[in-house]
Symmetry: C2
């Protein structure tokens, strides 16, 4: 076991799980959480009435569908979906995404449904 | 000019400034801000009594000196310095860092002094 404080290596963390659309919490920042999620295919249209949501693509390619146009993110690109704005993530290839949002934020927001997952601590 | 929402490309943003130790705000997330900073050399020991602070290295290598040991971050590695914990960033080579913290957080925290910079919007 490492001694003392250790960094979070994103590639290492992504290598530790394969489940899609299931956010894993890897760090906390006040009442916010850094969540890692692997995605492929299309999610559900939803919004978060209470918070903005930050997406940062680590590997792959993510389309964030918005009602007024798509935002396409490659590695090293981020986008903040404002609170209340409907969005639907879509990825043709498996894509690794870092999310930053209040820890209690539910992935499907106001939509609910079968893709709803509570973020779990990784490891 | 691009139409509609556009992503933040971190490499592009870092290419737009050269000043060291001077955070540039590139996105907001509720009352938090994504700040980009280039660093080289040693900063000042300080702490933030009111907030945790997230460091994510994009390029280069950052040592976050803590009173109980150093944390060394390479590209794709992040670390959260808890509120109230003294730290002093150090980089031997020029290093590009993404910070995530409440927008109003001052870089030198409780220490103040000549390296104090208010984060400015980029561009």
């Amino acid at each position: 076991m490492p001694e003392g404080p250790v960094p979070v290596n994103l590639a290492d963390k992504f290598s530790q799980f394969g489940e899609l659309w299931s956010p894993k919490t890897v760090a906390g920042l006040n009442d916010y959480a850094v969540k890692l999620v692997k995605v492929k295919g299309e999610f559900v249209w939803h919004s978060h009435e209470e918070t903005d949501e930050l997406f940062l693509v680590v590997t792959g390619r993510l389309t964030i569908q918005l009602r007024d146009g798509d935002v396409v993110l490659g590695p090293g690109e981020l986008f903040v979906v404002p609170r209340g704005v409907e969005h639907c993530p879509l990825a043709e290839e498996e894509t690794a995404v870092l999310l930053l949002e209040p820890a209690a934020t539910v992935n499907t927001g106001d939509a609910g449904g079968p893709m709803t997952k509570q973020a779990e601590p990784l490891g």
